[in-house]
C-alpha cells in the first residue's frame, strides 16, 4: 500500500470514528403515508422513471452519423467488407440460490448476427479471502472461436486463466484452465489475447509494501508459459492493453505526475514486440482520445495495421444555468500517427441530462469500445447501449449487461 493510501485510510478512519454509536439520534418514526398502497405501487415506477430520466428518458437519441445507411457512407470511406466474427461471448457473474446467495460465473456465447444465445458455460468463481469477487474479464483471438477468461483476486493475489473454445456451430463450448501464473510480486490488471491465440499480453506493476519500482507489459506464450516483460521505472502505469496485429501491443500510459518528462505523457502507445530491448517507454506514442470532462480516459483499440485508433469522445454542453446538459458521445476513428479525426462512426446524443450525480457524470463515461474484430472493421461497443458497429451501422445486441446479474451489475465483459 502506498503512502497516500495509508494516509487516506487513516484519516477516513479518524474522521468517521468521531461518530460514536451513542451519538446518533434515534430513528424518527417514518411518516405515515396516506396513500400507502399507491405510493408503494409508485415507488418502483418512480425508480424506473428516474433511471429513464437519466439514461433513456433524457431524450436518448442514437443514430448512425449523418443518418446514412451503412451502404451509403457520407464521407466516401468504404464500409467494412471483412468478415464479422460469428460469435461474441459475454462473461458475467450472477447471484444464485436463496437468501444465502452465492456467486456463479458464466460465459455466454451469442450469435453475432442475431444476438441469439447459443451456449452458456459455468466457470469456477475465484473468491478472495473475504469471499468477494472481482468479476471476470474476457478477450478473444482472431478466429472467432477462441477466448480467454480471466479472474483475479486482490487478497490474496491470484490470477486464473481459462481457455474457452467455442464449437464450430457455436452451440457448445469447452472450458479448460490454463496452467499460467502471474508471480506474486506482480500485480496484473488488463489481459489481451493475441489474434493468433498463442500469447497473452497483460499490464503489470511490480510493487512492494511501499513502492512500485517498475511497471510494464508482460507477454506470456500460452503453450510454454514463457514470458517476456517490457518494463520502465518511469512514474506511471500502463492500462487498457490490446493487440494490434500479432507483433504490436497497444496500451494506455497513465502518468502519475503533474508535469511528466517528455515522452512520458499520459496517452496511448504502441509497443513493437519485435523491436530491440525491453524498455516499455521505447514504445511509440499514438493518437489518443482526450480525457473526458470527468478526466476519465476512454478505452481505445488499434486496427491490425496500426494505422487507426478506434475510441470514444464526449462533448458536454450545459444549458439552463448549468443545471441541464446535452452530452454527445461518439465512437470515432483517429489517425494513429497524427491523432487527427478520420471519421465518426456513431453518435449518441443524450439531452436534458441533469448536473452531477447520476446525470452528466454517468453520461461522460457511458460510451466505450469493448472489442475489435480481427479485420479491424467491426467493433463491439457499449454507448450506452450494447451492440456492434459495422462501419457506421449500429446494431443493438442482447446479453450485455446480463439480465440475470442485476445484483452485481458492472461485473461484465464482452469480446469477439
Amino acid at each position: 500500500m502506498t503512502d497516500i493510501e495509508q494516509r487516506l485510510r487513516r484519516d477516513l478512519k479518524e474522521v468517521t470514528e468521531r461518530v460514536a454509536p451513542g451519538s446518533i439520534r434515534p430513528l424518527r418514526e417514518p411518516v405515515v403515508r396516506r396513500r400507502a398502497r399507491v405510493v408503494r405501487w409508485l415507488a418502483p415506477v418512480a425508480a424506473v422513471v428516474a433511471v429513464i430520466g437519466v439514461v433513456a428518458g433524457a431524450s436518448l437519441v442514437s443514430r448512425s452519423h449523418g443518418g446514412q445507411s451503412a451502404d451509403v457512407p457520407s464521407n466516401g470511406v468504404p464500409e467494412p467488407v471483412g468478415p464479422m466474427p460469428r460469435y461474441y461471448v459475454t462473461a458475467y457473474q450472477s447471484f444464485v440460490g436463496a437468501a444465502a446467495a452465492h456467486v456463479v460465473t458464466y460465459a455466454a456465447v451469442h450469435d453475432s448476427a442475431t444476438g441469439k444465445l447459443l451456449a452458456r458455460v459455468t466457470l469456477p468463481t475465484l473468491t478472495d479471502a473475504q469471499g468477494g469477487t472481482e468479476g471476470p474479464s474476457i478477450t478473444a483471438a482472431g478466429d472467432d472461436r477462441t477466448f480467454v477468461v480471466t479472474e483475479q483476486s486482490d487478497q490474496p493475489k491470484v490470477v486464473k486463466f481459462y481457455l474457452l473454445r467455442v464449437a464450430a456451430n457455436g452451440r457448445s463450448a469447452r472450458l479448460s484452465a490454463l496452467p499460467l501464473t502471474v508471480p506474486g510480486y506482480l500485480s496484473a490488471q488488463d489481459v489481451a489475447l493475441s489474434p493468433d491465440g498463442t500469447r497473452l499480453a497483460m499490464d503489470v506493476q511490480h510493487c512492494n509494501k511501499s513502492t512500485c519500482p517498475y511497471t510494464g507489459i508482460r507477454v506470456v506464450t500460452i503453450a510454454t508459459g514463457t514470458a517476456s516483460t517490457w518494463v520502465t521505472r518511469a512514474n506511471g502505469a500502463p492500462f487498457n492493453v490490446s493487440w494490434a496485429g500479432n507483433e504490436h501491443v497497444a496500451f494506455e500510459w497513465q502518468s502519475n505526475v503533474n508535469n511528466p518528462p517528455a515522452g512520458q505523457q499520459t496517452g496511448y502507445r504502441l509497443l513493437n514486440l519485435t523491436g530491440p530491448g525491453r524498455n516499455l517507454m521505447a514504445s511509440r506514442a499514438i493518437g489518443s482520445p482526450q480525457p473526458e470532462p470527468s478526466q476519465y480516459v476512454p478505452a481505445a483499440l488499434v486496427t491490425p495495421d496500426g494505422n487507426l485508433v478506434i475510441t470514444s469522445t464526449v462533448q458536454n454542453i450545459s444549458h439552463f444555468f448549468g443545471l441541464r446538459h446535452t452530452v454527445v458521445s461518439q465512437i470515432v476513428e483517429l489517425s494513429a500517427r497524427t491523432g487527427q479525426l478520420v471519421r465518426i462512426l456513431h453518435t449518441v446524443t443524450q439531452s436534458g441530462v441533469a448536473s452531477g450525480a447520476n446525470g452528466v457524470g454517468e453520461a461522460d463515461q457511458s460510451c466505450n469500445v469493448l472489442s475489435l474484430g480481427p479485420a479491424g472493421m467491426h467493433v463491439l461497443v457499449a454507448c450506452p447501449g450494447f451492440g456492434r458497429l459495422d462501419g457506421h451501422r449500429f446494431t443493438a445486441l442482447p446479453g450485455f449487461p446480463s439480465s440475470s446479474s442485476s445484483g452485481i451489475s458492472g461485473q461484465q465483459a464482452a469480446a469477439w
Binding site: L8, P44, A101, G132, T133, G135, A237, Q295
Partner: protein, 189 residues
C-alpha cells in the same frame, strides 16, 4: 433501535398491502441490515456530506426506501448494496440541492479538536485530506471512500456504483493520483 425498526417495518408493510409471506422476511432482513450496518452507513454519509445530522437523515431515508422497495429487489442478498447505493444517491442529492441553493458547502467533518498542538496538526492533516477529497470528481471520491473507508473490493464497488470493475480500478488509480496532486505530493510513493 433495531427492534423499533422491525416493529415499524411490520406495520408499514401491513399498510402497504404486502402479503404475509414477505412481511417477516422484509422485517428480519431490514432489521439485520440496520443492526449490522447503520453506524457504518452514517459514517459513510458523514464523509460524503460533511455533517452528522444530514448524514443521519440520508441514512434514515435510505432504510425507509429499502423497506418500501424490499419486495422489488431482484436479489434479497443485494440489500446491503442497495442501501449503500441509496445512501450515496442521497448524498448526491444533498450536494445537488446545495449546489443549486449556493448556500451550503459540504464539509468532510465537523470542527476539529484543536486542544493540543498534536491534535491541531492531526486535525490540519484531516482537514487537508478533506479538502483534497472534496476537490476530486464525484466518482473518484466515491470509489476512494468505498475502497479505503468501507474496505470494499472492486466487485462490491462496481456493484454499488454500477460501473465495471475495470472502471473501478482505473478510477481508483486516477483518484489516488489526483489526491496526491491535490495534497501537493508530486508522486505516489
Amino acid at each position: 433501535m433495531a427492534g423499533f425498526m422491525a416493529d415499524d417495518v411490520s406495520g408499514q408493510e401491513g399498510a402497504a398491502g404486502v402479503g404475509p409471506a414477505g412481511r417477516g422476511d422484509a422485517a428480519r432482513a431490514v432489521t439485520d441490515l440496520f443492526r449490522d450496518h447503520h453506524l457504518e452507513l452514517v459514517r459513510l454519509a458523514l464523509v460524503m456530506v460533511g455533517d452528522q445530522a444530514t448524514a443521519e437523515d440520508v441514512v434514515q431515508d435510505a432504510f425507509e426506501r429499502l423497506h418500501r422497495g424490499w419486495r422489488g429487489l431482484r436479489q434479497p442478498s443485494s440489500g446491503l448494496a442497495y442501501v449503500r447505493s441509496s445512501v450515496l444517491n442521497g448524498c448526491r442529492s444533498v450536494h445537488r440541492r446545495a449546489a443549486v441553493a449556493r448556500k451550503h458547502v459540504p464539509e468532510l467533518a465537523g470542527s476539529a479538536d484543536t486542544t493540543s498542538p498534536d491534535a491541531a496538526t492531526a486535525a490540519d492533516d484531516r482537514g487537508e485530506m478533506a479538502a483534497a477529497l472534496r476537490s476530486l470528481p464525484r466518482r473518484q471520491r466515491e470509489v476512494l471512500v468505498l475502497r479505503y473507508y468501507l474496505d470494499l473490493d472492486v466487485a462490491e464497488i462496481a456493484g454499488t456504483l454500477r460501473i465495471s470493475p475495470s472502471a473501478v480500478r482505473a478510477t481508483n488509480a486516477r483518484g489516488l493520483v489526483a489526491l496526491a496532486r491535490a495534497l501537493g505530493e508530486d508522486e505516489i510513493r
